[in-house]
Symmetry: C2
Subunit: 237 residues, 2 copies
DNA sequence: CGTAAATTTGACCCCAATCAAAGACTGTGG
DNA sequence: CCACAGTCTTTGATTGGGGTCAAATTTACG
């Protein structure tokens, strides 16, 4: 159980300046209901990045200079245990925000690492503060983000921290699939860190689900899943 | 494992109208940095209640008509599992706020139940909204509350959801003691629901700690605790 | 093609869940 | 004041799930 942030191709690539007005996920994004006038208040550049799996958006304790909206991919928020281990406390998906605490000037409480390839917008703290002072819209949005963060945190505790290992894995997959039949999965070590079980147990359970045809591996870590059967597992033991 | 909200003397007693200006915990409370002018904006009454152990401040799904600041005592936020069981997702202490989601008009996500006798102020949603429109101060405070809620949630996951039963109990006690030597404890069933272990295991561990003199029961559920020894337990197995 | 990393599987054992029952405590009514 | 019922805590006996240590196998990558 080492798992400092991986080194393998751990790169972040600048992709250009974001055009918020025309952003494809505007409805779900932080700047959702800004008015045209509000956009005039953004003077600092908002950079658009791609982040490779294993690379970090920011580290715990970093200078909280910006927050990040996830536009595509999957991000894990990691906290380190006194014992040296790590625990994943949340998974962020498109539309979610990483590093909200930066808007309050608080130090980052987690390390944010890409699990899947991630496309993200980096919004400097100064932009948030300027907008916060000038427009109510952003207040609302920020508050909603916090609300969602708490809901996610509670769901982690209740859904992923309760029941047998099999049930937890089933619930995790259902969460990732989000109703769809196919879903992208990730490394067993991360699965364990999310569910509070060991890497070996995570592997055992996933392997067994594959054998029972509840999961079909289309390509490495891309699964087609038997939603109905998994839902049954998710409740019982 | 029944545990609907208890009936035993489950009463909430009205205690009077709160005088926010002179509130003893103003510095830590939601209305911390309101100006004298801001107070003029409060037109609805803010009621002060005492809530007996086992009684609820509000229930999941209730009309979100108000939020509550905890002035003294201990409150648990409960979520119910599909299996009928329950899980405590957070413990609120003096200075904390219950039902923050009401400020957003969202339905309550938990049931809030007093564990120790609680003194609380009920702040109607309308008051929050009026103040939110008029003053920046409250925005700041609300945001801080959300931030704190997320931190607590994460701490629950990392500190109380990891390690052996002994370690979890030790960490819970240290959290409750908050540096002091003495602390109030509570029922084993709740201890189990906080830590994700069974009532029996909770009891066994607590009983053993008492035998080993790491805990001394001054009176029912009031402990004097060996902080150093507990800290050692909290890390090890 | 060869080395390193990740996944899978095996064997063993221990912690905590489970089922069950015996004390301790609280409040009630006789 | 005491007896009794109900609840909570404690303890016991048993079992199974998952942790741990270790090795085999597959996958990824230079």
């Amino acid at each position: 159980m080492d798992m400092t942030v991986k080194k393998t191709g751990a790169t972040a690539a600048w992709r250009g300046l974001a055009n918020c007005r025309g952003c494809g996920i505007r409805e779900t994004a932080l700047f959702a209901d800004l008015t045209e006038a509000d956009f005039g208040l953004i003077h600092l550049p908002i950079d658009e990045f791609t982040v490779a799996p294993g690379a970090a958006l920011y580290h715990v304790g970093d200078e909280p200079s910006a927050l990040y909206t996830v536009r595509s991919g999957l991000v894990k928020l990691v906290q380190y245990l006194p014992t040296g281990g790590q625990r994943i406390v949340r998974l962020l998906r498109p539309g979610d925000t990483a590093g909200l605490e930066a808007a309050l000037g608080e130090p980052y409480r987690h390390t944010a690492v890409a699990i899947h390839p991630v496309l993200t917008c980096r919004i400097p703290r100064a932009v948030i503060q300027r907008l916060s002072d000038e427009t109510q819209h952003l207040h609302q949005q920020l508050m909603r983000r916090w609300h969602r963060a708490v809901e996610r945190a509670d769901a982690f505790l209740v859904e992923l921290g309760t029941g047998s290992a099999r049930a937890r894995v089933a619930r995790l997959i259902l969460t990732l699939a989000d109703g769809r039949e196919e879903c992208d999965f990730f490394g067993r070590e991360d699965v364990g860190a999310v569910l509070g079980i060991t890497t070996e147990t995570a592997s055992r359970v996933v392997a067994e689900l594959k054998r029972q045809d509840l999961l079909t591996e289309l390509r490495p870590n891309r699964f087609r899943c038997d939603v109905a059967a998994l839902r049954a597992l998710a409740e019982g033991p």
